[in-house]
Subunit: 343 residues, 2 copies
Amino acid sequence: MSTLKEVAKKAEVSVTTVSRVINNSNKVSADTRERVQRAMRKLEYKPSRVAQRLRGSKGRSKLLGLIIPDIQNQFYSNIVRGIEDVAYKNKYAVILCNSDENPNKERFYLDVLRSESVDGVILPPIHQYGKVLDECLIEYGIPVVCVDRKLARESVDAVVVNNHKGGYIAVSHLINLGHEQIAIISSSHQFSSFDDRQNGYEQALKDNKLEVNEDLIVEGDPRSSEQAYKLTKKLLEVSPRPSAIFITNNLMTLGALEAINEMNLKIPEDISIVMYDDTPWATAITSPLTVISQPAYEMGRRAAELFLQRIADPGRAAVQVSLEPKLIVRKSTSFARDKNNGQ
Amino acid sequence: MSTLKEVAKKAEVSVTTVSRVINNSNKVSADTRERVQRAMRKLEYKPSRVAQRLRGSKGRSKLLGLIIPDIQNQFYSNIVRGIEDVAYKNKYAVILCNSDENPNKERFYLDVLRSESVDGVILPPIHQYGKVLDECLIEYGIPVVCVDRKLARESVDAVVVNNHKGGYIAVSHLINLGHEQIAIISSSHQFSSFDDRQNGYEQALKDNKLEVNEDLIVEGDPRSSEQAYKLTKKLLEVSPRPSAIFITNNLMTLGALEAINEMNLKIPEDISIVMYDDTPWATAITSPLTVISQPAYEMGRRAAELFLQRIADPGRAAVQVSLEPKLIVRKSTSFARDKNNGQ
DNA sequence: GAAATTAGTGAAAACGTTTTCATTAAGTCA
DNA sequence: TGACTTAATGAAAACGTTTTCACTAATTTC
């Protein structure tokens, strides 16, 4: 692996000059530049990004840290892809980490990323009130962009979808179809996104003078379809049985579908379903799912762009981007049965 | 961010000594070690992985490169997850790159990864005969582990599933059900995996004295469900219409399903389907899919372990691990109609 | 009891860059 | 013409580690 020194020797200039042509500083004459470039080509020289990162100043190491809950979740892999595409266009490499919603893992990776001198970190923060981001990154001047979830304070860049609205339109759709017993499979309030979706759910009920029934609100680990399976079984035993379920992410929906199938309930005849997230398989199942579609790829793209802007202008004010979710009506939701016919 | 120097000062020892306790060299007395560790804790010292990588010797930088065709493909995200879990346990960070099956992108990322001084690279090589891996990595002594696909030569570690067998059992299953007009949606021969699956397909036909009909063999971009959609339409217009299709990956299957739905054909009554890959949604669709299941996560795990072994013993002979695919019969395959009743 | 080994430590070089500072030559100003 | 800027270049320091080498004191070996 050839080095700057070797190139300098071959081109008969100093390493400083070679460095200058690499970073195309203007302070170098046309013909020395030419000579140096020829030498670089001859030696197949590629600068060491490691050395560049060690010596170079903040924000130029072309390395981006990315911590997500689980790459196996289609929703997150879409976000990742959006980020990665922008990164590639700007010659950034991406370090990917899976947090599994585990704060210890998140902490570990935050430390690693700092230690790797990344130019910045994009992540859906696990705790909206936590201070781990400050301790590990912000105090050291490392830019952070939140994606999908945001922090309680607004001093950190974030791009999210309007989760409150997402929950609201999902449930409004069900209410418009005549449903009154609407259950929700939600998740911990520590996640801003689930918190917001659930608030949207409750708001829609209230706005339509429907009672918020605690029995119909369950919370599970968003990464566990098994747990969603159990929670769904529990929900379906509530009397009177809910006529619709709003499930707040795709993974939990898989578990819910399993439970519903197992109990031989028909979608949408016996029970209507709205899933949060659109997925490739949502249209391929028995009753194609009515979903709240989130622009996941777009969200990733925007987050990466926010990051680049932050690098370009570290002083700019934090911005909160909110994208719009969209209701896509398919076949998993239908009019509520007349209550008298209900079992 | 505190440095070695600061720790050394605080602990009143040389930087050398501090370095030694970090890398727990045994050559340091119990009480100086204690003193140094206390200083590190006080200063919240975290070594710079960048500096470590620059100075340190090969294979200790705890950084692993990973190039995959597309993280949005469930199959690959499973592999990635397997790799990442092993990496995490061993305190490795992972740089993730999407090649999009584009050799230029692959090349770019290989250069980046070398430039980042990764300890090694795991990837499904795009070309089984290419020499880009040699030029970018192997010549520089950077370990490579192939996953999912392998190189033509066996001098590089690889972990794959037995794709020939996968194709063979898929088609044998169809033949056993009485199918004779069996189509395949395959992909370019440059990919060892698709090549092998197709060979398995042809072998199964031959072993059962069935003719290999070129009209029933189509090849598409494995990343494009749209293309698979078109190819499927074409296949379904062949006369006599094939009674079964073997689709060699999950993404292409989505396109195929769309085409089949659009033509109002019933699975499995009108056409039987076997998909390569098991996916979370395979069981959730109208007729749960009969699939060839690949141990993707396991494959990732094994690849990462192979990598670690290579780091531990750079001299060991290359190994080729072959995992077994499994036929999972569900509802998308059934007995072929009597030919006389066929259209 | 002298020689050889070992344990414990530190100074300085090295890794491959970028940055700072200095220097020279050439051009500009008035 | 002399003072001043500008363009082009290089020497050396710096980044934060690990590694090599050297040194001292203590221990072991014969």
